[in-house]
């Protein structure tokens, strides 16, 4: 690593990492530890199959099915697997429910632990120093960075994830969605509202 280059040559810094990754793939393939085709499948899974649309279905089901929601709040991984929404949730997953009085927000101050199985890969901001440092001391300030303002008397609870325990926020069901199907409800559920840095889209934003 050439420390003196860091600040003025971002391009060469990136190519250094590109070369490192290429070298690692070559040597691990030669030694038989990895198979490039298997790596393709891992990349493809995170690009196409594993993402926040899974969590959106979980939230929509929780909004529609009181029994499912009860189970979800007791043991989220079990409830999600039982409903067939994900084959298997790898880590202990806790669902935290927003109410009129309490808003939940999720962070991983120590690294970037995130419920990959239901939300996919964490966005860059979730892994960034500004979010990790400030979510726990200034959650309202962080929400303002996302353009979200909550009523003054809403309590904000910030959950710090670990390697073993991940969280998903169950936001409040938007008004005016009575009688909506789970599929339609899911279109209101954004990634950010399941991390607690956003709110679901209002019903008016969706075409009937």
């Amino acid at each position: 690593m050439h420390e003196h280059e860091h600040h003025h040559e971002q391009g060469s810094e990136l190519s250094e990492t590109q070369l490192r990754v290429r070298a690692l793939e070559t040597i691990l393939t030669e030694k038989g530890y990895v198979d490039p085709a298997a790596l393709d499948r891992i990349v493809e899974a995170y690009e196409t199959r594993i993402g926040p649309h899974i969590g959106a279905r979980v939230v929509a089901k929780a909004w529609s099915d009181a029994g499912f929601k009860r189970g979800l709040l007791v043991d989220a991984a079990k409830a999600i697997a039982a409903a067939g929404l994900v084959k298997r949730v790898g880590e202990h997953l806790i669902a935290v429910e927003n109410t009129e009085r309490t808003h939940n927000m999720v962070v991983c101050t120590l690294c970037s632990c995130y419920p990959w199985d239901v939300l996919g890969l964490p966005p860059t901001w979730y892994k960034s120093a500004p979010y990790r440092s400030r979510a726990v001391i200034d959650p309202r300030g962080v929400l303002a960075d996302f353009g979200v303002t909550l009523p003054k008397d809403t309590e904000i609870r910030v959950w710090d994830s670990t390697a073993e325990t991940r969280f998903i926020v169950i936001p409040m069901r938007p008004a005016g969605t009575e009688g909506w199907s789970e599929e339609k409800l899911a279109t209101l559920v954004t990634r950010d509202c399941m991390v607690g840095t956003g709110l679901p889209k209002p019903a008016a934003k969706v075409q009937p």
Binding site: M1, E3, H6, E13, L14, T17, Q18, R20, V21, R22, A23, L24, E25, I27, L28, K31, Y33, V34, D35, A38, L39, D40, I42, V43, Y46, E47, G51, V107, T109, L110, C111, S112, G120, L121, P123, T124, W125, K127, S128, A129, P130, Y131, R132, S133, R134, A135, V136, I137, V142, D145, F146, D160, A163, D192, T197
Partner: protein, 91 residues
């Protein structure tokens, strides 16, 4: 370990800057880097705690300067050498 990774409550990192419609990977090498790390975690030579420690043990100035997947690439290289799967000359 009380290192630079323990960021909760630190001041001075500035505002959070969300990116609209962020793709899963910003370039191809990031996807390869993630896949290599995942594939090697399935090999169970090291566990998740050892792999986290390998990130936390990076020199603090590198930890702060590197992007997420840059840290992952260096972490994987360090683990491979540490666990004797690769000798550093080979990389």
């Amino acid at each position: 370990m009380n290192g630079v990774h323990d960021m909760g409550g630190m001041h001075g990192f500035g505002p959070v800057k969300p990116e609209k419609n962020e793709p899963p990977f910003h370039s191809k090498w990031e996807g390869r880097c993630l896949a290599l790390n995942r594939a090697m975690s399935f090999a169970k030579v090291w566990n998740i705690d050892q792999s986290r420690a390998a990130i936390e043990n990076l020199p603090p100035h590198l930890y702060l300067e590197m992007s997420y997947y840059q840290r992952w690439a260096l972490r994987l290289q360090n683990l491979l050498v540490e666990y004797g799967l690769v000798v550093s000359d080979e990389i």
